[in-house]
């Protein structure tokens, strides 16, 4: 099956065409085609995985390449490169996508563009799979852009509302900004590696010194710009929370399997380039680790103040992607890939869970949820499993992968990243506790009657909960299969990724930090719960009022102090008004005058003059040129023929 892995992206692509043209005439409106094709793709991916694992060690990647056309000696081709990383991605993408397809039959039931939605889902998956199996950077970029296009289509699925379509446009344009970097990076590397797009070749050249370090740094930096856009790294993370405007299954797909992990995958795939380009082996500080670390903290802080449940999860994804990029930045390749693997399961679970909540209460706001534990037991349990896995509690999936990232930061000499990682772990645990508290604890605060979702939505949740619990064990100490399966090898280069021994102290430490996060958040929010209780029970109301007024101690102190304080305050006020204010006002006036002069001379005359001049000249140029545009086709044609005639005469005369 490994030799024919190219079939896997092809199946959803075919299903896209079938759904698009015949979907609306089928009994289930095209959903069955999508589910069947993804099911087939998933089975084939599993076969690939079995075959890969069964290979003799060292496992050699399968590389097939067909020339599409040759131009000037440059081979433009399509191909596939299948190694452990590819197989892992194939399994994850097809599995999550299958779950999302099944879930969508329930969630999108009765939607006005149901068939179109499934067609776009298929294309989305196919594009991601195309990116995953690509053996050259050109093909990778085609998949990359297709993924961007599909996310645009799906985020703006309900485009009738202006907010949604602008969110889609924002996502598209933000990622496109990064893509400029990706494209120039690919071009730089293409010329640096002797006119070659081949990924294996690029990695090999980068690791053996075939490309100069300066060029490599530029190439890696430019590629990383693309990664920042796609994987929502600070400061290009702004599109991801807005992308929540799309239907929830799409959010799950974007966050777990396709789109945002494409950036992480790109770095992992071209790791040779990044590894030498950013001199990761030397330790110290590099762009990738710093951006990743900043993203972890900034996004986690934002997750605390969101009321929209999907936005909490969105910022959480941004933060977790920061972890992955940081891990790649410190050289912990396996840890990053492993975190991508585990994160896909529990984040898909959380998003589908939040979709189930939204489906039941018809709002995204957590302030209108509450007490849903009783009404929606399946959603509650699966959402809790996802949250605990995300928070990194032993022995769920997130614990093992997060621990490996921290271990990498510690062992490879990045102490700052270790601290950032621990802070991130604390905050992750705390904001997930807050979210779970607001959604499930207390009384129901919304309107209407929440109900458990239909089986088509509940079953994907149950199924996803299994890997969310167990996936981490694959690389647990004593088992440790995962790193052997995916390990990154470049032919002809000695193994350069170090593996670190499991460190029980660090693992225990990170667990304690996460538990502290949960404890802190629950202490805070359960005290909040007491306040709510205090407004309803008479005795408690008195107690509550006392607590709110800080036991009336302030009143007591005020009475005593006022006698002494008042004359003192009066004297202080006089000093303040006459002496201090004089100084402050003087400084202020001087600053104001300087500013006035600057404004009159520099801003009004020089800068405005230049700006207005540019505008005026464009305006006048336009009004002259508009006379040419008469709207008459034949006049244009006459100009065209006339110009060609003049050119032809020139050609005859001068040759």
């Amino acid at each position: 099956m490994l030799d024919n892995a190219w079939l896997i992206p092809l199946i959803p692509a075919v299903s896209f065409v079938i759904i698009l043209f015949f979907g609306s005439r089928l009994p289930k409106k095209g959903a069955e085609v999508g589910i069947l094709s993804l099911g087939a793709a998933f089975v084939l991916s599993l076969l690939c995985a079995v075959e890969w694992i069964g290979k003799h060690v060292p496992r050699h990647p399968v590389h097939r390449h067909t020339t599409w056309f040759e131009i000037g000696g440059v081979d433009i081709g399509v191909g596939m490169f299948v190694d452990g990383l590819t197989v892992m991605m194939l399994v994850v993408v097809t599995f999550i996508s299958l779950m999302v397809h099944v879930y969508s039959t329930g969630y999108m039931h009765g939607d006005r563009r149901y068939t179109y939605f499934f067609a776009a889902l298929s294309l989305f998956t196919s594009a991601m799979l195309l990116l995953v199996v690509a053996d050259n950077t050109l093909q990778l970029m085609i998949g990359w852009e297709l993924v961007g296009l599909c996310s645009f289509m799906l985020i703006g699925h309900w485009w009738e509302e202006g907010v949604n379509s602008s969110a889609a446009i924002k996502a598209f344009i933000t990622t496109r900004t990064g893509d400029i970097g990706l494209m120039t990076g690919i071009i730089v590397l293409f010329f640096a590696a002797g006119s070659n797009f081949d990924i294996e070749h690029l990695n090999h050249e980068a690791l053996t010194g075939g490309i100069g370090h300066g060029t490599l740094l530029v190439g890696a930096g430019l590629l990383f710009l693309g990664v920042m856009g796609k994987s929502a790294q600070f400061p290009l993370h702004v599109w991801l929370p807005d992308a929540m405007a799309g239907p929830t299954p799409v959010s799950a797909l974007i966050h777990a399997a396709t789109m945002v992990v494409a950036g992480v995958y790109l770095v992992a795939r071209l790791y040779g380039v990044f590894f030498s380009g950013f001199s990761i082996e030397a330790g110290g500080i590099n762009l990738m680790a710093v951006i990743g670390a900043m993203t972890v903290i900034i996004a986690a802080l934002l997750a605390f103040v969101q009321d929209d449940v999907k936005k909490v999860l969105a910022y959480s994804t941004v933060s977790q992607l920061g972890y992955m990029i940081m891990a790649l930045g410190v050289g912990a390749w396996t840890a990053a890939v492993f975190h991508l693997f585990t994160h896909a399961f529990f984040k898909a679970l959380l998003f589908l869970g939040s979709g189930s909540l939204i489906h039941a209460v018809h709002t995204n706001n957590m302030s209108e949820m509450g007490g849903l534990r009783k009404h929606m037991p399946t959603t509650f349990w699966t959402f809790m499993i996802g949250s605990v896995a995300l928070a990194g509690i032993f022995p769920l999936a997130g614990f093992w992968s997060k621990d490996e990232i921290l271990l990498g930061a510690l062992e490879d000499g990045f102490p700052i990243m270790l601290v950032v990682g621990l802070m991130g772990a604390f905050m992750t645990a705390a904001y997930m506790t807050r979210a779970c508290y607001l959604i499930f604890a207390g009384e129901y605060r919304g309107h209407g009657h929440p109900h458990e979702s239909p089986p088509s939505m509940a079953w994907p949740l149950r199924i996803l909960a299994v890997p969310a619990v167990l996936a981490g064990l694959l690389n647990a100490p004593g088992i440790g299969l995962f790193h052997g399966w995916v390990e990154f090898e470049v032919e002809g280069v000695p193994h350069f990724l170090e593996l670190h021994e499991f460190n029980p102290v660090l693992a225990g430490g990170s667990l304690v930090v996460a538990l502290l996060g949960i404890a802190a958040a629950s202490a805070y929010y359960y005290r909040g719960a007491l306040n709510g209780l205090g407004t309803r029970v008479p005795i408690l109301m008195t107690v509550h009022r006392t607590i709110v007024n800080k036991y009336y101690l302030d009143h007591l102190f005020l009475g005593i102090i006022r006698g002494i304080q008042y004359p003192l305050a009066k004297a202080a006020y006089w000093v303040n008004q006459n002496i201090l204010d004089g100084v402050v006002n003087g400084v202020g006036k001087a600053a104001q005058r300087t500013a006035q002069v600057t404004y009159d001379v520099i801003d009004q005359r020089v800068i405005d003059g230049a700006v207005n001049g540019a505008g005026l000249s464009a305006d006048e140029g336009g009004s002259i040129l508009r006379r040419l545009q008469t709207g008459r086709v034949q006049q244009y044609a006459a100009l065209l023929f006339g110009a060609v005639a003049v050119l032809a005469m020139g050609l005859v005369a001068f040759t």
């Binding site: 508009r626 006379r627 545009q629 008469t630 709207g631 008459r632 086709v633 034949q634 044609a637 023929f641």
Partner: protein, 99 residues
């Protein structure tokens, strides 16, 4: 048989086409004139191909014919839509794109 004869024929045909495109008011006739120009080019291609014993000229003209068919399809569809909207296909009246 001289190459010049063919080239002359093609040139005459092409000039007729240009004249038609520039002077006709009716959009359908303009489209037909474009076809004339394309066929003049085809004659050139085949003539050169035949005189230099090269099959590429014919291959290219086949491509041109295929693409011309598509182009006429699109063009006539546009003309049809314009006619439905305005009940008129006079190109001089179609000047909404005026700057």
């Amino acid at each position: 048989m001289y190459l010049n004869q063919f080239l002359l024929l093609a040139a005459v045909l092409f000039c007729l086409g240009v004249y038609g495109v520039l002077s006709r008011k009716n959009a359908v006739l303009v489209l037909m004139s474009i076809e004339l120009m394309l066929n003049a080019v085809n004659i050139n291609l085949i003539a050169f191909g035949a005189f230099r014993d090269n099959v590429i000229g014919q291959v290219f003209s086949l491509f041109v014919i295929a693409i011309a068919a598509a182009e006429v399809g699109v063009g006539l569809a546009i003309v049809l839509l314009i006619f439905r909207n305005r009940a008129d296909i006079d190109l001089d009246e179609l000047a909404q794109m005026k700057g």
